[in-house]
Protein backbone atom coordinates (compact mmCIF):
# COMPACT_ATOMS: atom_id res chain seq x y z
CA UNK A 1 0.00 0.00 0.00
CA UNK A 2 1.27 3.42 -0.92
CA UNK A 3 0.97 5.95 1.88
CA UNK A 4 1.59 9.70 1.92
CA UNK A 5 3.77 11.67 4.35
CA UNK A 6 0.91 12.51 6.69
CA UNK A 7 -0.08 8.87 6.94
CA UNK A 8 3.50 7.91 7.66
CA UNK A 9 3.62 10.58 10.38
CA UNK A 10 0.44 9.20 11.93
CA UNK A 11 1.87 5.68 11.97
CA UNK A 12 5.12 6.81 13.57
CA UNK A 13 3.28 8.90 16.17
CA UNK A 14 0.84 6.14 17.12
CA UNK A 15 3.59 3.53 17.21
CA UNK A 16 5.23 5.57 19.98
CA UNK A 17 2.06 6.41 21.88
CA UNK A 18 -1.27 4.96 20.80
CA UNK A 19 -3.18 7.02 23.35
CA UNK A 20 -2.76 10.32 21.52
CA UNK A 21 -6.12 11.53 20.28
CA UNK A 22 -7.01 12.58 16.75
CA UNK A 23 -7.14 16.13 18.07
CA UNK A 24 -3.55 15.92 19.40
CA UNK A 25 -2.29 14.34 16.21
CA UNK A 26 -4.05 16.90 14.06
CA UNK A 27 -2.09 19.64 15.85
CA UNK A 28 1.18 17.70 15.58
CA UNK A 29 0.95 17.28 11.81
CA UNK A 30 -1.00 20.41 10.94
CA UNK A 31 -4.07 18.69 9.47
CA UNK A 32 -7.71 18.88 10.53
CA UNK A 33 -9.05 16.46 13.09
CA UNK A 34 -11.46 15.01 10.52
CA UNK A 35 -8.63 14.41 8.06
CA UNK A 36 -6.66 12.56 10.74
CA UNK A 37 -9.67 10.43 11.65
CA UNK A 38 -10.19 9.55 7.99
CA UNK A 39 -6.54 8.58 7.52
CA UNK A 40 -6.54 6.46 10.68
CA UNK A 41 -9.70 4.69 9.53
CA UNK A 42 -8.17 3.99 6.14
CA UNK A 43 -5.00 2.61 7.74
CA UNK A 44 -7.05 0.46 10.10
CA UNK A 45 -9.14 -0.94 7.28
CA UNK A 46 -6.02 -1.79 5.30
CA UNK A 47 -4.67 -3.55 8.42
CA UNK A 48 -1.58 -1.34 8.33
CA UNK A 49 -2.70 -0.19 11.75
CA UNK A 50 -3.35 -3.62 13.14
CA UNK A 51 -4.18 -3.15 16.81
CA UNK A 52 -3.64 -0.91 19.85
CA UNK A 53 -2.27 -2.48 23.01
CA UNK A 54 -0.62 -1.58 26.31
CA UNK A 55 2.83 -2.78 27.33
CA UNK A 56 2.43 -4.47 30.73
CA UNK A 57 5.18 -5.59 33.08
CA UNK A 58 3.45 -8.61 34.65
CA UNK A 59 6.53 -9.47 36.69
CA UNK A 60 5.61 -6.60 39.03
CA UNK A 61 2.21 -8.10 39.79
CA UNK A 62 2.08 -10.35 42.87
CA UNK A 63 1.15 -14.00 42.34
CA UNK A 64 1.50 -13.76 38.62
CA UNK A 65 3.73 -16.65 37.58
CA UNK A 66 3.30 -16.47 33.83
CA UNK A 67 6.21 -17.64 31.71
CA UNK A 68 7.25 -16.90 28.18
CA UNK A 69 9.25 -19.21 25.93
CA UNK A 70 10.79 -18.64 22.54
CA UNK A 71 10.87 -21.80 20.47
CA UNK A 72 13.07 -22.34 17.45
CA UNK A 73 11.18 -24.66 15.10
CA UNK A 74 12.66 -26.49 12.12
CA UNK A 75 10.07 -27.26 9.50
CA UNK A 76 9.95 -29.24 6.25
CA UNK A 77 8.37 -26.82 3.78
CA UNK A 78 5.50 -28.17 1.69
CA UNK A 79 5.34 -28.01 -2.05
CA UNK A 80 3.14 -25.16 -3.20
CA UNK A 81 2.54 -23.55 0.20
CA UNK A 82 6.07 -23.40 1.62
CA UNK A 83 6.06 -22.51 5.30
CA UNK A 84 2.75 -20.69 5.32
CA UNK A 85 0.54 -23.63 6.06
CA UNK A 86 2.67 -24.79 9.00
CA UNK A 87 2.88 -21.23 10.35
CA UNK A 88 -0.88 -21.03 10.15
CA UNK A 89 -1.36 -24.29 12.00
CA UNK A 90 0.92 -22.97 14.74
CA UNK A 91 -0.37 -19.40 15.11
CA UNK A 92 -3.96 -20.53 15.48
CA UNK A 93 -3.15 -21.80 18.99
CA UNK A 94 -4.12 -19.04 21.38
CA UNK A 95 -1.09 -19.62 23.62
CA UNK A 96 1.11 -18.57 20.71
CA UNK A 97 1.75 -14.83 20.85
CA UNK A 98 4.03 -14.47 17.84
CA UNK A 99 5.29 -16.44 14.86
CA UNK A 100 8.09 -15.25 12.60
CA UNK A 101 9.69 -16.92 9.59
CA UNK A 102 13.44 -16.62 10.09
CA UNK A 103 16.60 -16.86 8.03
CA UNK A 104 19.40 -18.98 9.48
CA UNK A 105 19.62 -22.20 11.45
CA UNK A 106 15.89 -22.75 11.95
CA UNK A 107 12.70 -21.70 10.20
CA UNK A 108 10.00 -20.47 12.54
CA UNK A 109 10.48 -18.48 15.73
CA UNK A 110 7.46 -19.07 17.93
CA UNK A 111 6.73 -17.21 21.14
CA UNK A 112 4.49 -19.02 23.58
CA UNK A 113 2.99 -17.72 26.80
CA UNK A 114 1.74 -19.97 29.57
CA UNK A 115 0.78 -19.99 33.23
CA UNK A 116 3.70 -22.28 34.10
CA UNK A 117 6.70 -24.06 32.61
CA UNK A 118 4.68 -27.26 32.66
CA UNK A 119 1.96 -25.77 30.56
CA UNK A 120 4.49 -24.71 27.93
CA UNK A 121 6.26 -28.08 28.06
CA UNK A 122 2.94 -29.76 27.43
CA UNK A 123 2.19 -27.43 24.51
CA UNK A 124 5.53 -28.20 22.89
CA UNK A 125 5.31 -31.97 23.30
CA UNK A 126 1.61 -32.41 22.62
CA UNK A 127 0.79 -29.68 20.09
CA UNK A 128 3.93 -28.47 18.38
CA UNK A 129 6.30 -31.43 18.03
CA UNK A 130 3.57 -33.73 16.80
CA UNK A 131 2.90 -31.65 13.71
CA UNK A 132 3.93 -33.70 10.72
CA UNK A 133 6.08 -30.92 9.13
CA UNK A 134 7.92 -30.05 12.34
CA UNK A 135 11.40 -31.59 12.30
CA UNK A 136 12.69 -30.33 15.62
CA UNK A 137 12.08 -27.77 18.38
CA UNK A 138 14.42 -25.95 20.76
CA UNK A 139 12.70 -24.19 23.66
CA UNK A 140 14.21 -21.17 25.44
CA UNK A 141 12.47 -19.81 28.55
CA UNK A 142 12.71 -16.08 29.21
CA UNK A 143 14.13 -15.34 32.63
CA UNK A 144 13.69 -11.58 32.78
CA UNK A 145 12.49 -8.84 30.46
CA UNK A 146 14.82 -5.85 30.34
CA UNK A 147 13.56 -4.09 27.24
CA UNK A 148 10.55 -4.75 25.03
CA UNK A 149 9.31 -2.85 21.97
CA UNK A 150 11.91 -0.13 22.54
CA UNK A 151 10.94 0.41 26.17
CA UNK A 152 13.27 -0.24 29.09
CA UNK A 153 11.30 -1.78 31.96
CA UNK A 154 13.25 -0.62 34.99
CA UNK A 155 14.47 2.72 33.76
CA UNK A 156 13.28 5.67 35.80
CA UNK A 157 12.65 8.82 33.80
CA UNK A 158 14.33 11.47 35.90
CA UNK A 159 14.66 14.93 34.41
CA UNK A 160 17.94 16.27 35.74
CA UNK A 161 17.79 19.50 33.85
CA UNK A 162 17.71 22.74 35.78
CA UNK A 163 14.19 24.17 35.75
CA UNK A 164 14.95 27.42 33.97
CA UNK A 165 18.02 27.99 31.84
CA UNK A 166 18.98 30.44 29.11
Amino acid sequence: MRINNDEREILEILEKDARLTASDISKMIGKSEEAVQAMVKKLEEAKVLVHYTALVDWSKVDDDQRVTAMIDVKVTPKRGVGFHETAERIYRFKEVSSVYLMSGAYDLSVTVEGKSMNEIARFVSEKLSVLEEVVSTTTHFQLKKYKHDGRIFEEKQIDNRIVVSP
Binding site: D24, S165, P166
Partner: protein, 388 residues
Protein backbone atom coordinates in the same frame (compact mmCIF):
# COMPACT_ATOMS: atom_id res chain seq x y z
CA UNK B 1 38.72 40.77 56.35
CA UNK B 2 38.10 43.07 53.44
CA UNK B 3 37.94 46.77 54.08
CA UNK B 4 35.60 49.25 52.43
CA UNK B 5 37.46 49.01 49.15
CA UNK B 6 35.69 47.03 46.44
CA UNK B 7 37.93 44.58 44.67
CA UNK B 8 35.39 43.85 41.95
CA UNK B 9 36.15 45.22 38.51
CA UNK B 10 33.87 48.08 37.52
CA UNK B 11 32.92 46.34 34.29
CA UNK B 12 31.67 43.37 36.30
CA UNK B 13 30.04 45.41 39.03
CA UNK B 14 27.93 47.31 36.53
CA UNK B 15 26.88 44.11 34.78
CA UNK B 16 23.21 43.16 35.27
CA UNK B 17 22.54 39.61 36.49
CA UNK B 18 20.52 37.60 33.98
CA UNK B 19 16.75 38.04 34.33
CA UNK B 20 16.43 34.30 34.03
CA UNK B 21 17.97 33.90 37.45
CA UNK B 22 14.88 35.28 39.20
CA UNK B 23 12.62 32.69 37.61
CA UNK B 24 15.04 29.96 38.35
CA UNK B 25 14.96 30.89 42.03
CA UNK B 26 11.16 31.09 42.03
CA UNK B 27 10.65 27.76 40.25
CA UNK B 28 13.46 25.81 41.87
CA UNK B 29 11.78 25.64 45.28
CA UNK B 30 8.40 24.48 43.95
CA UNK B 31 7.04 20.94 43.71
CA UNK B 32 5.23 19.65 40.64
CA UNK B 33 6.39 22.35 38.26
CA UNK B 34 6.18 21.67 34.54
CA UNK B 35 9.00 23.59 33.01
CA UNK B 36 8.89 25.07 29.54
CA UNK B 37 11.78 27.24 30.66
CA UNK B 38 14.58 24.86 29.84
CA UNK B 39 17.11 25.78 27.18
CA UNK B 40 18.38 22.29 26.50
CA UNK B 41 17.13 19.05 24.90
CA UNK B 42 15.09 16.60 26.94
CA UNK B 43 16.89 13.78 25.11
CA UNK B 44 19.91 12.16 26.71
CA UNK B 45 23.13 11.94 24.66
CA UNK B 46 22.99 8.83 22.43
CA UNK B 47 24.34 5.70 24.06
CA UNK B 48 26.93 5.20 21.32
CA UNK B 49 28.48 8.59 22.12
CA UNK B 50 28.32 7.97 25.86
CA UNK B 51 29.90 4.56 25.37
CA UNK B 52 32.71 6.02 23.28
CA UNK B 53 33.55 8.40 26.13
CA UNK B 54 33.52 5.53 28.62
CA UNK B 55 35.78 3.51 26.36
CA UNK B 56 38.21 6.43 26.04
CA UNK B 57 38.41 6.57 29.84
CA UNK B 58 38.97 2.82 30.07
CA UNK B 59 41.83 3.18 27.63
CA UNK B 60 43.32 5.92 29.77
CA UNK B 61 42.96 8.68 27.18
CA UNK B 62 42.95 11.35 29.85
CA UNK B 63 45.67 13.78 28.74
CA UNK B 64 45.34 17.18 27.03
CA UNK B 65 44.62 17.21 23.35
CA UNK B 66 46.12 19.68 20.89
CA UNK B 67 45.00 23.24 21.71
CA UNK B 68 42.59 23.25 18.81
CA UNK B 69 41.29 19.79 19.73
CA UNK B 70 41.88 16.25 18.46
CA UNK B 71 42.90 16.42 14.82
CA UNK B 72 40.70 13.43 14.05
CA UNK B 73 37.70 15.29 15.46
CA UNK B 74 38.55 18.47 13.53
CA UNK B 75 38.70 16.38 10.36
CA UNK B 76 35.32 14.91 11.17
CA UNK B 77 33.89 18.37 11.93
CA UNK B 78 35.26 19.62 8.63
CA UNK B 79 33.49 16.83 6.74
CA UNK B 80 30.29 17.31 8.71
CA UNK B 81 30.13 21.06 8.07
CA UNK B 82 30.76 20.47 4.40
CA UNK B 83 28.10 17.77 4.07
CA UNK B 84 25.44 19.47 6.11
CA UNK B 85 25.95 23.18 5.45
CA UNK B 86 28.14 23.39 2.34
CA UNK B 87 30.98 25.27 3.97
CA UNK B 88 34.58 24.20 3.64
CA UNK B 89 37.19 24.63 6.39
CA UNK B 90 40.70 23.19 6.76
CA UNK B 91 40.89 20.93 9.84
CA UNK B 92 44.45 22.02 10.67
CA UNK B 93 44.15 25.79 10.52
CA UNK B 94 40.55 26.81 10.48
CA UNK B 95 38.74 24.76 13.13
CA UNK B 96 38.97 25.05 16.94
CA UNK B 97 37.13 22.88 19.45
CA UNK B 98 35.89 25.00 22.36
CA UNK B 99 34.24 24.59 25.74
CA UNK B 100 30.72 24.94 24.41
CA UNK B 101 29.59 27.50 21.86
CA UNK B 102 29.64 29.95 24.80
CA UNK B 103 33.42 29.93 24.96
CA UNK B 104 33.52 30.17 21.19
CA UNK B 105 31.54 33.42 21.39
CA UNK B 106 33.86 34.77 24.04
CA UNK B 107 36.92 33.89 21.96
CA UNK B 108 35.50 35.47 18.83
CA UNK B 109 34.64 38.73 20.58
CA UNK B 110 37.92 39.00 22.46
CA UNK B 111 39.91 38.27 19.33
CA UNK B 112 38.38 41.06 17.27
CA UNK B 113 37.41 43.89 19.62
CA UNK B 114 39.47 46.92 20.48
CA UNK B 115 38.12 49.23 23.21
CA UNK B 116 35.11 51.14 21.92
CA UNK B 117 34.47 48.89 18.92
CA UNK B 118 30.78 48.28 18.34
CA UNK B 119 29.03 45.00 17.79
CA UNK B 120 25.49 44.92 16.46
CA UNK B 121 23.33 42.41 18.31
CA UNK B 122 19.85 41.47 17.22
CA UNK B 123 17.21 41.34 19.94
CA UNK B 124 15.43 39.38 21.29
CA UNK B 125 18.58 37.32 21.73
CA UNK B 126 20.50 35.00 24.00
CA UNK B 127 21.17 36.65 27.35
CA UNK B 128 24.96 36.53 27.19
CA UNK B 129 25.59 38.47 23.98
CA UNK B 130 25.67 42.01 25.39
CA UNK B 131 27.63 41.11 28.56
CA UNK B 132 30.22 39.18 26.53
CA UNK B 133 30.67 42.10 24.13
CA UNK B 134 31.20 44.42 27.07
CA UNK B 135 33.62 42.06 28.84
CA UNK B 136 35.67 42.04 25.66
CA UNK B 137 35.87 45.84 25.83
CA UNK B 138 33.35 46.49 23.08
CA UNK B 139 30.02 48.22 22.99
CA UNK B 140 26.84 46.41 22.01
CA UNK B 141 24.40 48.18 19.74
CA UNK B 142 20.93 46.71 19.63
CA UNK B 143 18.75 46.19 16.59
CA UNK B 144 15.23 45.13 17.48
CA UNK B 145 13.14 42.70 15.51
CA UNK B 146 9.38 42.42 15.60
CA UNK B 147 6.77 39.70 15.48
CA UNK B 148 5.36 41.23 12.25
CA UNK B 149 8.66 40.30 10.61
CA UNK B 150 8.71 36.92 12.36
CA UNK B 151 11.63 38.27 14.38
CA UNK B 152 13.90 38.25 11.36
CA UNK B 153 16.63 40.88 11.10
CA UNK B 154 15.82 43.38 8.34
CA UNK B 155 18.75 44.62 6.26
CA UNK B 156 17.51 48.23 6.47
CA UNK B 157 17.36 48.12 10.26
CA UNK B 158 20.86 46.72 10.36
CA UNK B 159 22.16 49.50 8.12
CA UNK B 160 20.69 52.15 10.42
CA UNK B 161 22.56 50.74 13.42
CA UNK B 162 25.96 50.84 11.74
CA UNK B 163 28.42 53.59 12.70
CA UNK B 164 32.06 54.20 11.90
CA UNK B 165 32.93 52.13 14.96
CA UNK B 166 30.93 49.06 14.02
CA UNK B 167 33.17 46.05 13.68
CA UNK B 168 30.88 43.07 13.64
CA UNK B 169 27.36 41.75 13.50
CA UNK B 170 26.48 38.99 15.95
CA UNK B 171 23.77 36.90 14.36
CA UNK B 172 21.94 33.85 15.67
CA UNK B 173 19.85 31.69 13.35
CA UNK B 174 17.85 29.64 14.16
CA UNK B 175 17.32 31.96 17.08
CA UNK B 176 17.06 31.57 20.81
CA UNK B 177 14.51 32.74 22.09
CA UNK B 178 12.25 33.28 19.06
CA UNK B 179 13.04 30.23 16.95
CA UNK B 180 13.28 32.55 13.93
CA UNK B 181 15.22 31.13 11.03
CA UNK B 182 16.80 33.31 8.36
CA UNK B 183 16.50 31.80 4.89
CA UNK B 184 18.95 32.26 2.05
CA UNK B 185 17.25 35.38 0.74
CA UNK B 186 17.17 37.04 4.18
CA UNK B 187 20.86 36.28 4.63
CA UNK B 188 21.78 37.56 1.18
CA UNK B 189 20.19 40.91 1.97
CA UNK B 190 22.10 41.08 5.23
CA UNK B 191 25.33 40.06 3.50
CA UNK B 192 25.04 43.02 1.12
CA UNK B 193 25.08 45.43 4.06
CA UNK B 194 27.85 43.52 5.85
CA UNK B 195 30.07 43.78 2.77
CA UNK B 196 29.13 47.38 2.07
CA UNK B 197 30.41 48.43 5.51
CA UNK B 198 33.23 45.90 5.60
CA UNK B 199 32.03 44.15 8.76
CA UNK B 200 32.64 40.74 10.25
CA UNK B 201 29.82 38.38 11.12
CA UNK B 202 29.90 36.23 14.21
CA UNK B 203 27.37 33.59 13.23
CA UNK B 204 25.99 31.68 16.20
CA UNK B 205 24.56 28.63 14.44
CA UNK B 206 24.30 26.34 17.44
CA UNK B 207 20.71 25.45 16.43
CA UNK B 208 21.61 24.82 12.77
CA UNK B 209 20.80 21.12 13.03
CA UNK B 210 17.32 21.91 14.37
CA UNK B 211 15.65 23.42 11.31
CA UNK B 212 12.32 21.83 10.54
CA UNK B 213 10.81 23.10 7.31
CA UNK B 214 13.69 24.22 5.14
CA UNK B 215 17.35 23.26 5.62
CA UNK B 216 19.54 25.70 7.51
CA UNK B 217 21.60 28.10 5.40
CA UNK B 218 24.89 29.22 6.89
CA UNK B 219 25.79 32.82 6.13
CA UNK B 220 29.36 31.60 5.56
CA UNK B 221 28.15 29.62 2.54
CA UNK B 222 27.14 32.80 0.69
CA UNK B 223 29.48 34.24 -1.89
CA UNK B 224 32.18 36.45 -0.42
CA UNK B 225 31.08 35.79 3.16
CA UNK B 226 33.41 32.99 4.19
CA UNK B 227 36.35 35.36 4.63
CA UNK B 228 34.34 37.66 6.91
CA UNK B 229 32.53 35.10 9.03
CA UNK B 230 33.39 33.47 12.34
CA UNK B 231 31.11 30.48 12.34
CA UNK B 232 30.13 29.03 15.71
CA UNK B 233 28.45 25.68 16.17
CA UNK B 234 28.65 22.79 18.62
CA UNK B 235 27.25 19.55 19.90
CA UNK B 236 24.94 20.79 22.68
CA UNK B 237 21.63 21.20 20.90
CA UNK B 238 21.66 19.04 17.78
CA UNK B 239 23.41 16.10 19.43
CA UNK B 240 21.87 16.57 22.90
CA UNK B 241 25.28 17.04 24.53
CA UNK B 242 24.83 20.22 26.61
CA UNK B 243 26.62 18.98 29.74
CA UNK B 244 29.72 17.88 27.85
CA UNK B 245 30.48 21.50 27.02
CA UNK B 246 31.78 21.10 23.51
CA UNK B 247 31.46 23.59 20.69
CA UNK B 248 33.58 24.65 17.77
CA UNK B 249 34.64 27.60 15.67
CA UNK B 250 35.20 27.61 11.92
CA UNK B 251 36.99 30.68 10.62
CA UNK B 252 39.57 31.75 8.05
CA UNK B 253 43.08 30.91 9.26
CA UNK B 254 44.10 34.44 10.24
CA UNK B 255 41.09 34.85 12.52
CA UNK B 256 41.36 31.27 13.79
CA UNK B 257 45.01 31.81 14.71
CA UNK B 258 44.09 34.90 16.75
CA UNK B 259 41.40 33.01 18.63
CA UNK B 260 43.65 30.03 19.15
CA UNK B 261 46.19 32.32 20.81
CA UNK B 262 43.64 33.27 23.48
CA UNK B 263 42.34 29.72 23.73
CA UNK B 264 45.78 28.23 24.41
CA UNK B 265 46.44 30.63 27.26
CA UNK B 266 42.97 30.80 28.76
CA UNK B 267 41.66 27.27 28.27
CA UNK B 268 44.41 25.00 26.91
CA UNK B 269 41.94 22.67 25.23
CA UNK B 270 38.38 21.36 25.48
CA UNK B 271 37.62 18.31 27.63
CA UNK B 272 39.20 15.16 26.20
CA UNK B 273 36.44 12.61 27.00
CA UNK B 274 33.89 15.02 25.52
CA UNK B 275 35.91 15.14 22.31
CA UNK B 276 35.89 11.35 22.02
CA UNK B 277 32.13 11.31 22.60
CA UNK B 278 31.64 13.96 19.92
CA UNK B 279 33.80 12.03 17.47
CA UNK B 280 31.47 9.07 17.81
CA UNK B 281 28.39 11.30 17.61
CA UNK B 282 29.55 12.66 14.25
CA UNK B 283 30.47 9.23 12.91
CA UNK B 284 27.34 7.33 13.88
CA UNK B 285 24.88 9.75 15.47
CA UNK B 286 23.16 11.43 12.52
CA UNK B 287 20.35 8.87 12.67
CA UNK B 288 19.63 9.90 16.28
CA UNK B 289 19.64 13.56 15.28
CA UNK B 290 17.04 12.85 12.60
CA UNK B 291 14.85 11.01 15.10
CA UNK B 292 15.01 13.86 17.62
CA UNK B 293 14.23 16.36 14.91
CA UNK B 294 11.10 14.50 13.90
CA UNK B 295 9.89 14.58 17.49
CA UNK B 296 10.71 18.26 17.94
CA UNK B 297 8.88 19.13 14.75
CA UNK B 298 5.67 17.41 15.87
CA UNK B 299 5.86 19.04 19.28
CA UNK B 300 6.45 22.43 17.71
CA UNK B 301 3.38 22.06 15.53
CA UNK B 302 1.36 20.91 18.52
CA UNK B 303 2.33 23.77 20.79
CA UNK B 304 2.04 26.50 18.14
CA UNK B 305 -1.48 25.33 17.29
CA UNK B 306 -2.37 25.05 20.98
CA UNK B 307 -1.26 28.62 21.75
CA UNK B 308 -3.15 29.99 18.77
CA UNK B 309 -6.22 28.00 19.83
CA UNK B 310 -6.16 29.67 23.24
CA UNK B 311 -5.88 33.10 21.69
CA UNK B 312 -2.18 33.73 22.25
CA UNK B 313 -0.78 34.69 18.84
CA UNK B 314 2.15 32.50 17.98
CA UNK B 315 3.99 32.28 14.67
CA UNK B 316 5.52 29.00 13.57
CA UNK B 317 9.27 29.31 14.08
CA UNK B 318 11.52 27.54 11.59
CA UNK B 319 14.02 26.15 14.05
CA UNK B 320 15.53 25.68 17.55
CA UNK B 321 13.11 24.36 20.18
CA UNK B 322 11.37 27.51 21.30
CA UNK B 323 8.11 29.19 20.52
CA UNK B 324 7.59 32.85 21.33
CA UNK B 325 3.86 33.52 21.70
CA UNK B 326 2.47 36.99 22.35
CA UNK B 327 0.73 37.44 25.71
CA UNK B 328 -0.36 41.04 25.03
CA UNK B 329 -4.03 40.02 24.84
CA UNK B 330 -3.91 39.25 28.58
CA UNK B 331 -2.96 42.82 29.47
CA UNK B 332 -0.06 41.56 31.58
CA UNK B 333 3.61 42.31 31.15
CA UNK B 334 5.63 39.27 30.21
CA UNK B 335 7.19 39.20 33.66
CA UNK B 336 3.79 39.36 35.40
CA UNK B 337 2.47 36.65 33.11
CA UNK B 338 5.39 34.33 33.82
CA UNK B 339 5.29 34.97 37.56
CA UNK B 340 1.54 34.51 37.97
CA UNK B 341 1.46 31.48 35.68
CA UNK B 342 4.14 29.88 37.81
CA UNK B 343 2.38 30.67 41.07
CA UNK B 344 -1.13 29.75 39.95
CA UNK B 345 -0.55 26.82 37.62
CA UNK B 346 3.03 25.79 38.25
CA UNK B 347 4.17 26.13 34.67
CA UNK B 348 7.56 27.76 34.22
CA UNK B 349 8.14 29.89 31.13
CA UNK B 350 10.67 32.66 30.55
CA UNK B 351 9.45 36.25 30.14
CA UNK B 352 10.45 37.58 26.73
CA UNK B 353 11.76 40.78 28.31
CA UNK B 354 14.86 39.02 29.65
CA UNK B 355 15.99 38.64 26.03
CA UNK B 356 15.79 42.38 25.36
CA UNK B 357 13.17 45.14 25.32
CA UNK B 358 11.66 43.90 22.08
CA UNK B 359 10.84 40.64 23.85
CA UNK B 360 8.34 42.44 26.10
CA UNK B 361 4.82 41.16 25.47
CA UNK B 362 6.06 37.66 24.70
CA UNK B 363 7.08 34.55 26.58
CA UNK B 364 9.62 31.92 25.60
CA UNK B 365 8.37 28.37 25.83
CA UNK B 366 10.68 25.48 25.15
CA UNK B 367 9.13 22.40 23.60
CA UNK B 368 12.07 20.23 24.59
CA UNK B 369 9.71 18.23 26.80
CA UNK B 370 7.73 15.04 26.27
CA UNK B 371 4.32 15.24 24.56
CA UNK B 372 2.71 14.30 27.87
CA UNK B 373 4.35 17.23 29.62
CA UNK B 374 3.41 19.57 26.80
CA UNK B 375 -0.21 18.41 26.91
CA UNK B 376 -0.37 19.03 30.64
CA UNK B 377 1.32 22.43 30.27
CA UNK B 378 -1.14 23.46 27.58
CA UNK B 379 -4.02 22.42 29.82
CA UNK B 380 -2.69 24.49 32.71
CA UNK B 381 -1.94 27.57 30.63
CA UNK B 382 -5.44 27.34 29.19
CA UNK B 383 -6.81 27.27 32.74
CA UNK B 384 -4.68 30.26 33.67
CA UNK B 385 -6.02 32.29 30.75
CA UNK B 386 -9.65 31.29 31.29
CA UNK B 387 -9.52 32.16 34.99
CA UNK B 388 -8.64 35.74 34.28
Amino acid sequence: MLGTKSYIAKSVESMQPSGIRKFFDLAAGMEGVISLGVGEPDFVTSWSAREAAILSLERGLTSYTANAGLLELREEVSGYMNNRFHVSYQPKEEIILTVGASQALDLALRAILDPGDEVVIVEPCFVSYAPLVELAGGKSVTVETTSDQQFKLQAAALEQAITSKTKALLLCSPNNPTGAQLDKKDLEEIAVIVKKYDLLVIADEIYAELAYDIPHTSIASLEGMRERTILINGFSKGFAMTGWRLGFICAPSELAAAMLKIHQYAMMCASTPAQYAALEALKTGMKDVEEMKKDYRRRRNYIVQSFNDMGLDCHTPGGAFYVFPSIRSTGLTSEQFAEELLKEQKVAVVPGSVFGNSGEGFIRCSYASSMEQLQEAVKRINCFINNR
